[in-house]
C-alpha cells in the first residue's frame, strides 16, 4: 500500500524556527503501524526526522502523538485504520506541551503536575508489622487507573489545558484518584481539599476528550467525577462546583425539571452581590430578546410520585456509595 504521511515538523535550530508541514510518500504493508512507517522514514528517507519511541508495543508510553488531529500511540495505530480515501494521514506532535523538535515534546510541565498531586502512599498511624493489606476488591478497582502508562495523550487533547496551563490535567488527576481511592492512604480528605482548589477537579469541563483518547482505558474524566462525588460526600462543599451540583440536585428534586433561573442564584448564593452583579449584563441583554427561562417555573405532572422515586434513589445511593466498585465506568 502506497501512502502519504503529512508530518508537522519543527526545527529549533533553524534560523527562524517555525512549524511546517512535510509530506513523505512510501510503501507500507497492511499490518504496518504509524510508528513502523515513521521509523522507516527516519531510517531510509530522512534521518533528520525526530520522534520518540521505545517498546513498540503500547507499554512504555513514549510514542504518543496526534494522528489525524487526535492523540494516540503511534505503535498501537495501524496505518490502514487511519488513512483517508487518498491513502493520506497527518501526524503532529502532542498538543498542550512545548515542542522540542518535530514529534518530540517536553513532558516537564506534565511531570510537575503529577508531582503536585503527591503520587505516593501516605498512611497514618503506626506502621503495620508486616505488609499494608488492602481488600482485593479495592485493588481490582484501582487496577483500572494503574494501567496508566503516562503517555500524555489525554494531556495533549484536554480542552481546558488548551486555554489554561494551570489546570492539573487528566493524567495527574487520574493519578490523584489512584491514592484517593486507596484504602491504605490516610490523607483522603486532605488530598481532596487540595484538589478542590483552582486548577483541580472542578476545572474539568467534562468534555470526554481524555476518555476518548486514552489507549489504556483509564477514563481520567470518570475518576475526576468520582473525586467530585467523594469530596462532596466527605463534606467538602464550599466550592462553586459543589454548590452548583448540589443546587442542581435540589432544584430537580423540587420540580422534576431544571429551574435555570434559580440555578446561578443558588450556586452563587443570594447574598453574593459581586457574582450576582456579574450576571446582570447578560441578563439585561437576554431579557429584551425573551431569551430567558420563565420566572414561573412549572413542575412536571405528578411531581409527587417523581419525588418519591427521587428520594428512594438517593437513599439507595447512600448504600451504594459504600462499595468501592460502585462507580460504573466506560472502560
Amino acid at each position: 500500500m502506497r501512502i502519504t504521511i503529512k508530518v508537522r515538523r519543527f526545527n529549533p535550530e533553524a534560523p527562524k524556527p517555525q512549524p511546517y508541514w512535510q509530506d513523505y510518500t512510501l510503501e507500507v504493508t497492511k499490518t504496518s503501524t504509524v510508528l513502523d512507517a515513521l521509523i522507516r522514514i527516519r531510517e531510509e528517507v530522512d534521518e533528520s526526522l525526530a520522534l520518540r519511541c521505545s517498546c513498540r508495543s503500547a507499554i512504555c508510553g513514549s510514542c504518543a502523538m496526534r494522528i489525524n488531529g487526535h492523540a494516540s500511540l503511534a505503535c498501537k495505530t495501524k496505518v490502514s485504520a487511519v488513512v483517508d480515501a487518498h491513502n493520506t494521514l497527518t501526524v503532529e506532535p502532542m498538543g498542550n506541551l512545548p515542542v522540542i523538535k518535530d514529534l518530540v515534546v517536553d513532558m516537564t510541565p506534565h511531570w510537575h503536575k503529577v508531582r503536585a498531586v503527591e503520587p505516593w502512599l501516605q498512611p497514618v498511624g503506626p506502621e503495620p508489622q508486616g505488609e499494608y493489606l488492602a481488600p482485593n476488591e479495592a485493588m481490582l478497582h484501582l487496577a483500572g487507573v494503574m494501567n496508566c502508562i503516562m503517555c500524555g495523550a489525554c494531556v495533549s487533547d484536554c480542552t481546558v489545558l488548551e486555554v489554561d496551563s494551570n489546570f492539573l490535567g487528566p493524567a495527574a488527576l487520574a493519578k490523584a484518584y489512584r491514592f484517593v481511592a486507596d484504602p491504605r492512604d490516610g490523607m483522603t480528605k486532605e488530598r481532596l481539599a487540595k484538589y478542590n482548589a483552582y486548577g483541580g477537579i472542578w476545572d474539568c469541563t467534562r468534555c470526554y476528550e481524555c476518555v476518548q483518547v486514552c489507549p489504556k482505558g483509564v477514563a481520567p474524566m470518570d475518576r475526576i467525577m468520582a473525586m467530585r462525588e467523594r469530596a462532596i460526600g466527605m463534606g467538602l462543599k464550599d466550592t462553586y462546583g459543589a454548590r452548583h451540583t448540589l443546587a442542581f440536585e435540589e432544584l430537580v428534586e423540587h420540580s422534576g425539571r431544571l429551574d435555570e433561573l434559580r440555578l446561578p442564584l443558588k450556586t452563587f448564593g443570594y447574598t453574593n452581590i459581586p457574582k450576582l452583579v456579574g450576571l446582570l449584563p447578560i441578563a439585561l441583554r437576554a431579557l429584551p430578546k425573551q431569551k430567558a427561562p420563565s420566572p414561573f417555573h412549572k413542575p412536571i405532572p405528578e411531581v409527587k410520585s417523581f419525588q418519591t422515586t427521587f428520594r428512594k434513589a438517593r437513599q439507595a445511593a447512600e448504600t451504594e456509595r459504600q462499595a468501592p466498585t460502585s462507580q460504573a465506568h466506560h472502560g
Binding site: T159, V160, E162, V163, D164, W202, D203, C204, T205, C207, Y208, E209, V211, Q212, M225, R228, E229, I232, T239, Y240, G241, A242, H244, T245, F248, E249, V252, G256, R257, L258, D259, E260, L261, P264, P281, I282, R285, A286, K289, Q290, K291, A292, P293, S294, I300, P301, E302, F306, T308, T309, F310, A313, R314, A316, A317, E320, R321, Q327, A328, H330
Partner: protein
C-alpha cells in the same frame, strides 16, 4: 415515523426558541412525536457529579416510560443525548439494572434495557435521509457558509454513542448543511468543548473557549455557526459579547440551533423559528439569503 419526544429543560428554559422550531421541523419532515411529559431532567451530567446512581435512576425512569410506549426516544439536545446514552450504557449491566429497577418499582415502572435514544440530527440524516431532505428544500442556503459546532456530548465517548456502527455520524452536520444547499466551514474546534459546563466555576476559561471557537470559525469565513446542543448555544451566543471583550475585537457570529437552520431551508417562517431571540443578531444570515429582517 413515531418517537417518544424528550425535549429537555433548556429547550423550554434558557433557549425557549428551540422547542417551537424543533416541533415545526419535525412536523414538516413527517415525524410523529409523542411527548414524554412525565419525564424528568436527565441531570445533564451535573447532578451526576454529586450522585451518579441517582442520575441513572432518573434516566432509567424516562427509558421505562418510552419502553412502555414501545418507542425510541428523540432528543433535541446533545447534552441530554450524551447523558442518556451514558446511562443506557451502564444500564446494560443486568445486576446494575436490577438495583435501579428496585427504585422505580413504587411508580410501577421497570426498565428492560431495550430503549434507543436518538438526537434529531441523527434522525434527520439516518431515518429521514439526506435525499428526502434535499428534495424538501425550498429556500436553499446557497452561498451561506456554516460552521458546524458539534460540541462534546454528541461525539464522545464514541463507543457509547454508537459511532462504531454509525461512522457517518462524524460528518452528520456537514452532510446536512450540504443537503440544505449551504457550504460547511471546517475549523479546529468543531468537536471541542464550548465551555458551558464550567461557566459558574471558571468563567474566564469558559469564555476563552467561546472566543477561540467563534473567532476560528469567523476567520475561516463562516457566516453562521450551527449546533445541535442548546447548552453550547447558551455559551456561544450568550457569552460571545464577553468573548469579544476578551479579544478586543468584533466576532458577531450568529449561532443557530440545528432545527432553525433546517427550518429556514425547508421554508418555515423565521418567526416560528424565533430567529429574533438571539443575542447575536441573525439578521445578516437572512440578508445573505435575500430575506427581509424578522422580529421575534
Amino acid at each position: 415515523m413515531k418517537f417518544a419526544f424528550y425535549p429537555g429543560c433548556v429547550s423550554r428554559g434558557g433557549c425557549p426558541e428551540l422547542y417551537p422550531s424543533a416541533v415545526a421541523v419535525a412536523q414538516k419532515v413527517g415525524l410523529d412525536l409523542q411527548e414524554l411529559t412525565g419525564a424528568s431532567c436527565t441531570g445533564a451530567g451535573v447532578l451526576q457529579e454529586s450522585n451518579l446512581f441517582l442520575g441513572d435512576c432518573l434516566n432509567a425512569r424516562t427509558f421505562a416510560m418510552a419502553e412502555r410506549l414501545g418507542l425510541p426516544i428523540l432528543t433535541i439536545c446533545s447534552t441530554c443525548q450524551g447523558v442518556m446514552a451514558q446511562a443506557r450504557y451502564r444500564l446494560q449491566d443486568e445486576g446494575y439494572r436490577q438495583k435501579v429497577n428496585a427504585v422505580l418499582a413504587d411508580e410501577g415502572l421497570v426498565y428492560k434495557g431495550t430503549v434507543e435514544v436518538k438526537h434529531l440530527l441523527w434522525v434527520l440524516v439516518e431515518d429521514i435521509g439526506l435525499e428526502k431532505i434535499r428534495s424538501m428544500v425550498v429556500r436553499p442556503l446557497t452561498g451561506l457558509r456554516v460552521a458546524p459546532f458539534y460540541g462534546c456530548y454528541i461525539v464522545r465517548p464514541s463507543k457509547v454513542l454508537g459511532y462504531d456502527e454509525h461512522a457517518e455520524r462524524l460528518q452528520a452536520l456537514e452532510r446536512l448543511i450540504e443537503a440544505l444547499g449551504g457550504e460547511p466551514v471546517d475549523f479546529p474546534g468543531k468537536t471541542r468543548c464550548c465551555g458551558f459546563p464550567i461557566l459558574t466555576i471558571n468563567e474566564r476559561n469558559s469564555v476563552a473557549m467561546v472566543a477561540k471557537h467563534t473567532w476560528d470559525a469567523k476567520e475561516r469565513g463562516a457566516d453562521a455557526m450551527v449546533t445541535p446542543c442548546p447548552l453550547c448555544h447558551l455559551n456561544l451566543d450568550g457569552y460571545q459579547v464577553k468573548a469579544m471583550g476578551y479579544l478586543k475585537d468584533r466576532i458577531d457570529l450568529p449561532i443557530l440551533h440545528l432545527p432553525q437552520l433546517v427550518g429556514l431551508a425547508l421554508g418555515i417562517d423565521p418567526k416560528t423559528l424565533r430567529l429574533g431571540r438571539h443575542l447575536i443578531a441573525v439578521a445578516p444570515v437572512l440578508d445573505k439569503l435575500g430575506k427581509v429582517a424578522v422580529k421575534a
